[in-house]
Symmetry: C2
Subunit: 312 residues, 2 copies
């Protein structure tokens, strides 16, 4: 029997799951409480998001190690220019001085999300705020794909790694959400540490063999990911050997052959980040378990139009 | 000094207002509480919506006199087929048996909104529910563009007309929202009755000289609108003579000349329904007062990118 949160990400004959990427990045500010609440309120129960530590060891939800000028404004109200502050170097009280409510439309990154609401006074949330949100009875079906972002500066430091994992897992455990959370990363060494400390929380392995143009304006995961480029390697086999419950390839890199192999190995397969209608249709045709998307309403429409559900 | 709700819809040098059309029809089910709440929560303070009466004289928020099969499901869970029920013939308890949470993707209407979230258990709201929502302190800046939908079957009946206006105005007055509400319609006879009964609530005149392909799948307003096709007629002059505070032309029918004339007459000009980026840009170029849109986040992005605000 699979753990409940793995079941929640698993498809079925007429079910393909929808995972709200950073909440609903196409519609609302990414990795914001308002974005998570929106996705959940529309019946998208599965949330993907990114966790880092502040200088004072507070787990916070934000994607990049350095605040991006394209989506972060400083206390002066302007998008950040010049050298970007590192989250790991800021105390929580300083992090709260930044506003993540808008996109800079002149940036490559901003141009990718032309429908995103533009808001003021939106703060980088603590992990604890999201755990509190999903603890409400109305969101009892919510499950979390919690991405631990490995800091390239300390990825090789086992003490830093153990400390990061411990802080994150303690918060999830303290909130009583271990059976609703997946630990998700590109960094397989970090996932091994997760398994050591929290064997009750399933592991979700992100892979991307080649950088994608879809990701312009974002930090690359390659510095912390293992080399999976050897000829003849089977990525799902590697994920399975490493103890994965989920395999999460970039959608452009999945094949019917690898999906079938993943199924033989008992892996659940969630593809990211699928936004264009033709790509959404292609992933439905493949019958992946779950689609990670910035536009959850769009994926609901494609699934609904084709007779699929996303929840039981 | 203009009334406060007219000020709320009026632009300024660096301000163009955003009005959420039926809430945020591009993103969430139209004329639903969840849609109104979404728009307000993103800082879009101005809401457009449609009011009809049930058989037992409850003002409810829904666009068409007959429920559309393309966006209404019956108690059996299926989109309506065959003869559509008239809202005016249904009691409120029966109206609540219908679900407005999804679009039929095979319909012309459904294809227009490919990103709309697909939800279950969403009910046609009473006007009273929206008035309650905007009475919360967090939405103190919200103002309402309340469209009274004239029933072509009874448009010529002065008793029916007076009764409809009375029921609607009583609810707004009872909620203490007369200074945050515009009375809005295509039916100028109905607006005259509004003025007679509620001279403290400003009037907003909708016009559309020609049907638009943009409106496929919707009821036409033409049976209840006055004939404005006479050669040489100035629509803003007619609106002004009829006592309008706002003029609301279809965006494809506004000209710089008519906008200038409306300004001379002291009218506030709100254009509808502007969804495509090129059209949004054109309306910004014209410097209309307000843009009515199904995609409020998209209009926020266009305004923000061009250095405009939508609120003070």
């Amino acid at each position: 029997m699979k753990p409940p949160q793995v079941m929640a990400f698993s498809g079925d004959d007429d079910i393909i799951r929808i995972v709200g990427h950073r909440g609903a990045r196409g519609i609302l500010p990414e990795n914001s409480i308002v974005g998570f609440d929106f996705a959940l309120s529309t019946g998208v129960d599965l949330l993907e998001f990114d966790v880092l530590l502040t200088a004072d060891n507070v787990p916070v939800i934000t994607h990049n190690h350095e605040f991006q000028g394209s989506c972060v404004r400083g206390p002066d109200g302007d998008f950040l220019k010049g050298k970007a502050p590192r989250v790991r170097s800021l105390r929580m009280e300083d992090v709260q001085g930044f506003d993540i409510g808008r996109l800079d439309g002149t940036s490559d990154y901003g141009r990718r999300f032309p429908d995103q609401a533009q808001m003021d006074g939106i703060r980088v949330p603590r992990l604890a705020e999201l755990l509190h949100l999903v603890s409400q009875p109305k969101y009892a079906n919510a499950c979390l794909m919690l991405e631990l972002k490995s800091d390239p500066d300390s990825a090789l430091d086992p003490v830093a790694r153990a400390g990061f994992v411990s802080l994150v897992c303690d918060e999830v455990r303290g909130a009583g959400l271990t059976d609703r959370t997946l630990l998700h990363s590109f960094d397989w060494t970090l996932l091994a540490e997760c398994h050591r400390q929290a064997p009750d929380m399933p592991l979700s392995f992100l892979t991307q063999l080649h950088d994608s143009e879809d990701d312009v304006g974002e930090e690359s995961s390659h510095p912390v990911a293992p080399d999976l480029h050897q000829p003849g390697i089977s990525v799902p086999d590697e994920v399975s050997k490493a103890g994965g419950a989920l395999w999460c390839p970039h959608f452009s890199e999945i094949t019917a052959h690898d999906l079938a192999r993943a199924r033989e190995l008992g892996l659940c397969v969630a593809v990211w980040t699928v936004n264009e209608p033709a790509d959404i249709n292609a992933m439905i045709d493949l019958r992946v378990d779950a689609i990670v998307t910035d536009y959850p309403g769009r994926v609901q429409r494609r699934l609904s139009d084709r007779g699929f559900r996303w929840a039981r």
